[in-house]
């Protein structure tokens, strides 16, 4: 039916009058829009799924959401600029200790975490270390991705090598692997994978950078000497000097391209090899984290979602977190899309169906391992994070393996750490 000009004017005029009289904006106008900034996930399917979930969220709640992604090296500068200008996204994805750095700028989300813990069980220890800042949850734990061992199972079988259970066992098989032309690939350079492996080895041998009090530098210890000596012999007998120049991706590439026989890494190396149908994919497998005299400790990378205090849409932002992490079916769907690179960070969900999607994920259960973030057992204060970000630990090891006497290398690291701790 055609709408006459008179009818249109009457209807629209009446509508405007009604809106003005009621003093309530129309539903369309009052619809919230929130924005969420997160990293380019190493499992790209997960980002695609996030976008799908975002669209459903808008449909179900009427809250529109814009999801932006940036590469992880750009996150610190982007977050710093948002905080300094007090403008930007409402929600931000935070890696490891980010909530500690931005503590005064993040909304208290303890209520949300309590809700999620009631549903899914307690947050894993690493998630707690990263986002529970001075007694308050400053971000909501989202998922985690821990390091473990990725190795060439085909080579191990061929040479009759036993899968290692301790770092010392690794040295023994590493010697054989190097003789076979497939050295171990542990980076000793200024990247975060170097810190991840060095931290795990350090914890397993009982070595500490800074004590629990966050003030006492404790790196100069007999345990650290053991760690350095272990690194020196592994570098000499099981690896090649190339590890001194490696980036975060180099160990993955070395394993995928058929050179390295064993690396310490999350499952991403295998996922990429499998998805790209590389010839090495079938021969790869994982085994659980290695142990040392002080137990079985593993580096974990928890990720959480924070809400900036300057956001004008805090409640709708919380609604998004509830929708993504609180609804079991949505959370499961999200985790499944990450193909075991993103794992649930709540205790009751540890035996997740994602681990059954590939027999090579069996090791991800990682029984008996304790998860930590960098700097543990010290609280991740800004000073402890500066110690981490200054790459003092891998640089100490790089000095030692390239000729600096062990005690001298440790004394250098101790001195650098003490200066940071003593600083303002």
């Amino acid at each position: 039916m055609a709408l006459s000009r008179r009818a249109f004017l009457t209807a629209s005029g009446g509508g405007v009058a009604a809106i003005l009289a009621s003093r309530i904006p129309p539903a369309r106008g009052q619809q919230w829009e929130i924005s969420y900034l997160c990293w380019n996930n190493f499992a790209p399917a997960s980002d695609k799924k996030l976008s799908e979930i975002g669209q459903r969220f808008t449909k179900d709640t009427g809250i529109r959401i814009r999801i932006d992604h940036i590469a992880h090296p750009q996150q610190p500068s982007k977050y710093a600029s948002e905080v300094q200008t007090q403008a930007g996204h409402d929600l931000v994805e935070m890696r490891m200790h980010f909530p500690w750095l931005y503590e005064p700028q993040l909304v208290d989300v303890s209520d949300l975490v309590a809700e999620l813990e009631r549903k899914h069980g307690k947050v894993l220890s690493s998630g707690y270390e990263g986002a529970h800042v001075n007694g308050i949850w400053r971000a909501v734990p989202q998922y985690h991705g821990m390091f473990l061992a990725a190795y060439r199972e085909d080579l191990f079988k061929k040479a009759g090598l036993k899968v290692p259970d301790t770092w010392e066992d690794l040295y023994k098989v590493g010697r054989e692997l190097k003789k076979m032309g497939h050295p171990i690939g542990i980076p000793i350079s200024q990247n975060y994978d170097s810190i991840s492996t060095a931290s795990a080895v350090r914890w397993c041998y009982g070595s500490t950078e800074v004590d629990r009090d966050g003030k006492t530098v404790a790196i100069n210890s007999p345990q650290t000497i053991e760690v350095v000596e272990w690194y020196k012999k592994v570098y000499r007998d099981c690896m090649e000097p190339e590890v001194l120049s490696w980036s975060d991706a180099s160990n993955n590439e070395s394993l995928q391209q058929g050179k390295a026989g064993w690396i310490h890494n999350p499952v991403s190396a295998y996922i990429v090899a499998r998805d790209k149908k590389l010839v090495t994919a079938d021969g790869l497998n994982h085994h659980r984290s290695l142990a040392g005299p002080a137990g079985r400790h593993e580096t974990d990378v928890p990720r959480s979602i924070g809400i900036w205090k300057f956001s004008k849409r805090i409640e709708p932002a919380k609604e998004w977190i509830r929708y993504l992490l609180g609804k079991r079916e949505v959370y499961d769907e999200y985790i499944m899309s990450g193909s075991a690179f993103n794992l649930p960070i709540y205790t009751n969900l540890q035996d997740h169906p994602v681990l059954k999607t590939d027999p090579k994920y069996a090791a991800l259960r990682n029984e008996g391992a304790q998860y930590h973030t960098y700097g543990w057992p010290a609280p991740p204060s800004d000073k402890v994070q500066l110690i981490t970000n200054s790459f003092i630990l891998p640089n100490m090891l790089a000095k030692a393996v390239t000729g600096t006497p062990t005690r001298e290398a440790i004394a250098w690291a101790e001195n650098e750490m003490q200066k940071i701790i003593a600083g303002s």
Binding site: A80, L101, Q190, L244, S245, S254, K259, D382
Partner: protein, 312 residues
């Protein structure tokens, strides 16, 4: 009477368009008007951030927290850090070596490009390529070339019998790593030198060379006594700009070595990012990036004075 006066004034006043035109005819009005947009941009995008950085460098600013004035404490404390002292040394080695290499190769390339060559325009255009491609992107290419797993540099060297397998660990040993970052910086900065020096060469009158040739001067003598003296002002400006750009380089080191191995290639910009942004300590980060500011001001002052002396 008063009403009458007003009426007379109103009637003789020229229209607005005429008055604006007259106003714009005055140099004292038009000059500042032309400069204003550039000035506003400089104030907003250069002066303001610079002043904020200056304040940060003398404060204990930490991302998102209130800051306090701490005087020169950041600058003094930085000397206690081994990483900073190493960075300080790296900056001079990197800048000195790279600028010297760029200067020598830039003059050589410019002299070559000034010859009558086949496809001269094409070659001159191609020479600019390294300078035109985004640095981060081209450095990624270099990273692959120096990469321990795929190094085409080592592969070629070994194939030609110039290197012993497996070849140098370019990015894993401090001297090689510094060589690698200098090489990439020279590769990237060479076109700027060559093209600017070429412009200087073209402006030298041919008659001078012809007269020298008639007097029996050879190529080296002509270069030494004609080309080089007349190029001095251009060279001074090019070296000035390049010194500043090279001191503040970021991309090449960040992509190639991330400052490693053991901080041996860190520059002020990369260390500043590590401390200021990744660790949140904006005050210290700003102090690192501004550490050489007084020195650079002196360098700029001395070089500009030299250029003026040469020009006038």
């Amino acid at each position: 009477m008063a009403v009458g006066n007003v009426g007379v004034v109103a009637a003789t006043r020229p229209p607005l368009r005429v008055r604006v035109r007259e106003l714009l005819d005055r140099e004292r009005v038009l000059g500042p008007l032309f400069i204003a947009p550039a000035l506003i941009l400089i104030v907003l995008l250069v002066a303001y951030p610079f002043c904020v950085a200056l304040y940060f460098s003398v404060s204990n600013a930490f991302i998102g927290r209130p800051s306090h004035f701490v005087g020169l404490k950041n600058f003094i404390n930085l000397w206690g850090s081994d990483a900073f002292r190493q960075t300080f040394q790296n900056a001079f080695v990197f800048t000195g070596t790279a600028v010297a290499c760029k200067l020598v190769s830039g003059i050589s390339l410019a002299l070559l490009l000034n010859q009558q060559l086949w496809f001269k325009r094409l070659i001159r255009g191609a020479v600019l390529l390294p300078w035109v491609i985004p640095t981060a992107l081209s450095t990624l290419g270099w990273w692959w070339m120096f990469n321990s797993l795929y190094s085409v540099v080592n592969w070629t060297g070994i194939a030609l019998g110039l290197m012993e397998p497996p070849g140098p660990n370019w990015l894993g040993q401090k001297y090689y790593a510094m060589t690698a970052v200098v090489v990439v910086n020279v590769w990237r900065g060479l076109p700027f030198f060559a093209i600017t020096i070429l412009a200087g060469l073209v402006s030298i009158p041919r008659e001078l060379y012809e007269a020298a040739e008639a007097d029996g001067a050879g190529p080296v003598t002509r270069f030494w006594y004609i080309t080089l003296p007349l190029l001095k002002p251009v060279l001074a400006v090019v070296v000035l700009f390049s010194t500043i750009f090279t001191f503040s380089d970021f991309n090449i080191v960040y992509v190639l070595t991330h400052g490693g191995p053991v901080n041996s290639t860190h520059l002020f910009a990369t260390l500043s990012r590590q401390v200021g942004l990744e660790s949140g300590r904006i005050g210290e980060g700003a102090a690192i990036s501004l550490y050489l500011f007084p020195v650079l001001v002196l360098v700029v002052y001395a070089q500009l004075k030299f250029v003026r002396k040469q020009t006038y």
